[in-house]
């Protein structure tokens, strides 16, 4: 056997080994993706190059952070004197009419994968156990403030409607085109509130009246304002372009636990 022959054989063997490794790697990756999908470790905005980072971050946090771990809470003297807002309240006729009427006619619809599609007035929400928290709201831009939020636990609201076992996400709609969603871990988290009060006063229009979500384990934009309707679903690909939120469609992360 000449030196050239042995080199060719070596090259062929290397190609075979490399091909085998690549095939095994692809199969392992495929199996890992299926397991991760079943365990809820893949965010809806997993696509593209940036989706790799999004998926690693979401999966790592879902594996490392206990579902019940509580966002840091602060004493009353820590409440910030300045609480800025981004964006303006909705300008739709419906919202302006409700605002003018003090939200007496406002109803929060809960539908989708629930046993009892429900509708809540502000009074209905106030009759649920009152939860209060002093937590920080951190804007993705970099600034942050601490405030006291009061409301009902989203888990209590959902319990009234009776979440069906196959539900995996709650999708939220306001009085404009924005929309967002949470996975069930954050939706059922004890600090996730449907908040109607801020710093012991009713929520102002700028801060999301009549009610906004408070999701203190994620950045501020997940604390969704001007809540009108929420729907329970087992999949997000039916909503918008399937990336889970208007924020994700605008180039921001769906999961903002950061």
């Amino acid at each position: 056997m000449s030196a050239g022959d042995s080199k060719r054989i070596l090259t062929t063997r290397r190609a075979l080994v490399a091909g085998g490794l690549a095939a095994a790697g692809a199969a392992a990756l495929g199996a890992a993706a299926r397991v991760a999908g079943r365990r809820g470790l893949i965010p809806p905005d997993y696509g593209g190059v940036y989706g790799v980072g999004e998926t690693l971050t979401y999966a790592a946090q879902r594996l490392l952070v206990r579902g019940a771990s509580l966002a840091r809470e602060f004493p009353p003297e820590a409440v910030s004197k300045v609480a800025p807002v981004n964006g303006d309240p909705p300008q739709s006729d419906e919202y302006l009419r409700l605002l003018e009427g003090g939200f007496v006619d406002w109803r929060l619809a809960v539908d989708g994968l629930v046993a009892r599609p429900s509708s809540f007035s502000l009074e209905d929400l106030r009759r649920l156990p009152v939860r209060s928290q002093i937590t920080a709201l951190a804007c993705e831009e970099g600034w942050s403030y601490i405030a006291e939020w009061t409301g009902a636990a989203l888990s209590d609201v959902l319990a009234v409607a009776g979440v069906l076992p196959q539900a995996r996400y709650v999708v939220f709609f306001p009085y404009d085109e924005w929309w967002d969603s949470l996975d069930m871990q954050d939706a059922l988290h004890p600090q996730t509130l449907v908040a109607y009060g801020m710093n012991k006063t009713p929520l102002s229009a700028e801060h999301g009246a009549p009610v906004r979500l408070r999701v203190p384990r994620q950045l501020g934009y997940k604390s969704f304002k001007y809540l009108a309707r929420m729907t329970l679903t087992d999949r997000l690909d039916r909503f918008g372009t399937g990336q889970g939120s208007a924020a994700a469609e605008s180039g921001y992360s769906w999961y903002a636990g950061i």
């Binding site: 980072g53 952070v65 966002a71 004197k81 300045v82 600034w143 942050s144």
Partner: protein, 206 residues
Amino acid sequence: MARMASRHSATVRITHWLIAASALGLFVSGGAILVAHPRLYWGETGTLGVPALLDLPIPFVYGHSGWGRHLHFLCAWVLVTTGAVYFAAGVASRHFVDDLLPAKAAGARPPLERYNAAQRIAYLGVIFVLLPLMAATGLAMSPAIGSAWPALVETLGGHQSARTIHFAGASLLFFFLAGHVGMLVASGFGPRMRAMVIGRHERQAR
């Protein structure tokens, strides 16, 4: 004829360039995130309307924190995984002990291939102080991580303090990078690049 001398191991060369690429991405995307709010604070909170610790003399530029944060996290994952490989290989191959620790580094290599004291301090500082601090302060800015390990945020002085330390660390890393590239040019760009790309450089005639 000049002899070819081995300078950097394959692990060091591959991890070096992966880290270089991710560092470039982190600097660019970090800047894109910073300009959305170029004010820095100390403590838990800070916004417009309250005094800043440092008001950077650059304009507020919105609309770049989306791709900025996407790129920042992607590069951070590359840096963290590559850094873990580099660290494990550095311990296993005695790279840290033989080449970087001041007391041991004297006898291991011929004089021309040794790092001098300034280099060793800079490299050790970046690898074992600055980069871990960047990871810790980056994690401390995450409200979800803060819920799991509140002591991390409290040790760093609060959410906004962590952001400020993250910025200070990035500034020091930028100075390191400027010095690193400057010394590369000053000491001979071609041979040094060859050493970090193919692992060898021509040993100087004695």
